[in-house]
């Protein structure tokens, strides 16, 4: 399994992205990812302004699945994966 997390929005408006192989995930990240897949959040944007929005893409056994995750539904453990590339 491979997970890719893209982040958009925020005050800076600069996209960020990060990828992990299953073996690279920490226990907390893996548990958060499984929780997200088990109960996908609503895709509505988080209230307010300058909020992040995430796209989580999972490749597993040749299949790809995508989840749109608003800022206020993203598990804390996964928010550190996307990085801004300067």
């Amino acid at each position: 399994m491979r997970v890719r997390i893209e982040r958009r929005g925020g005050l800076a408006g600069r996209p960020a992205v990060g990828e992990r192989e299953d073996s690279e995930l920490t226990a907390a990240e893996r548990a958060a990812l499984h929780g997200l897949l088990a109960s996908p959040p609503p895709s509505r944007p988080a209230p307010g302004a300058d909020r992040f929005h995430y796209k989580v893409t999972i490749e597993h056994e040749g299949k790809t699945s995508e989840l749109e995750v608003p800022d206020d539904a993203m598990p804390e453990a996964l928010t550190g994966i996307p990085k801004i590339k300067l």
């Binding site: 005050l11 800076a12 600069r14 609503p42 509505r44 302004a49 300058d50 804390e76 550190g80």
Partner: protein, 357 residues
């Protein structure tokens, strides 16, 4: 914290299927004769609900104006919270934040200054013009690279200390986030497309004007038009990036997030923080053409154009441009002709059409 109920305005983003999608589906006639009718009904219903919400919003803004005029102006109360690097809001209350560590005392004092700027420059009583309490949470998340307005309060992350440092370190960022609250309580600009970019631009414009007001710098000073100059981390600076955005020169390479500077380059698919460069530049051009301080006239024209029910929640750049022209045409003072001419020139330069279609 005050127990007074804070007015909650409709966010305008509560439809699961966007109206534009419903409208497109309603025009299809390929699937079955029944389907387009379903989508047409759904589209009509969302539009009807929008009109009702817009009516409530306009009535609310109008009634608040008369209440605000009668209410005695007092500095809004402030409440600060510490998230302790978690992402649960609001966090733990911070007593005596004004005399706390650098982060809390700076946010407390700068937020109070924004309230003073609203009162003294714009004649506004806090975020909602009714003296609403100002709530801020710090230390949100671990290395969290953002500051945001969540519809009720400000939230600040500490950055990763590489690309960004603490997000409260730029006064214009604090002014930016508070102004999102003002917009929510005034026009309620929808956070997508042109209205979303306009929402962002108003926060940049009043954030920059606040920064210039606190520093007492004239509109001609380029440094006063940088957004987020105080939050750039060592890695960003090492690559020559001195700010998030530059309102005078939105396309500049010293911006972490360069933006279009002309309506000819508007990208309908882009994030609202990118297209905001177009009205950002119009505001900077207008203020610099007038000379002196941006907060003496230009900021007041912009404020009048986006408050008091003059702007709808779905306003385009052209709608707002025409609103600024209407305000400038009625401007009182010896410089009225210069103000009216400068605002037209500014919008012309960024290629936003002023003529009604």
């Amino acid at each position: 914290m005050s127990t007074r109920t804070q007015l909650q305005l409709p966010c305008g983003c509560c439809f699961i299927v966007p109206p534009a999608v419903l409208k497109a589906l309603s025009l299809r006639h390929r699937v079955s004769p029944r389907d387009p009718k379903i989508y047409q009904d759904s589209y009509a219903e969302t539009q009807r609900l929008r009109y009702i919400r817009e009516g409530h919003r306009m009535a609310s803004v109008t009634s608040r104006r008369s209440i605000a005029a009668a209410a005695p102006a007092r500095p809004p109360a402030e409440h600060l919270f510490d998230c302790g690097n978690r992402m649960t809001l609001p966090g733990a209350p911070v007593p005596d934040a004004e005399n706390g560590d650098e982060a809390f005392s700076t946010v407390f004092k700068t937020t109070a200054q924004v309230g003073k700027f609203y009162q003294e420059v714009l004649g506004r009583n806090s975020i909602d013009n009714l003296g609403m309490d100002m709530v801020s949470s710090l230390n949100y998340g671990l290395n969290f690279q953002n500051a945001f307005w969540n519809g009720q309060q400000m939230v600040y992350g500490n950055g990763d200390q590489q690309v960004f440092i603490d997000f409260w370190r730029s006064p214009d960022v604090i002014g930016h986030e508070l102004t999102h609250g003002v917009t929510q309580h005034e026009s309620g600009l929808r956070y997508e497309g042109e209205s979303g970019a306009l929402n962002e631009s108003l926060s940049d414009a009043f954030g920059a004007a606040f920064n210039q007001w606190t520093q007492q710098t004239p509109a001609s000073d380029d440094a006063g038009w940088l957004i987020g100059a105080g939050i750039m981390g060592p890695d960003s600076k090492a690559q020559g990036m001195t700010c998030l955005r530059d309102m005078v020169d939105p396309t500049a390479s010293h911006c972490l997030s360069p933006q279009p500077a002309s309506y000819d380059d508007f990208d309908p698919t882009a994030d609202v923080h990118l297209n905001s460069g177009i009205p950002n530049k119009a505001f900077a051009l207008f203020a610099r053409a007038l000379g002196g301080n941006s907060y003496d006239t230009a900021t007041k024209v912009w404020y009048a154009a986006c408050t008091g029910g003059r702007l709808s929640s779905t306003a385009t750049f052209a709608d707002f441009a025409r609103s600024t022209v209407a305000v400038a045409d009625q401007w009182s003072g010896a410089d009225q002709a210069a103000v009216a001419d400068a605002v037209r020139q500014a919008w012309q330069e960024v290629r936003v059409p002023l003529a009604t279609v």
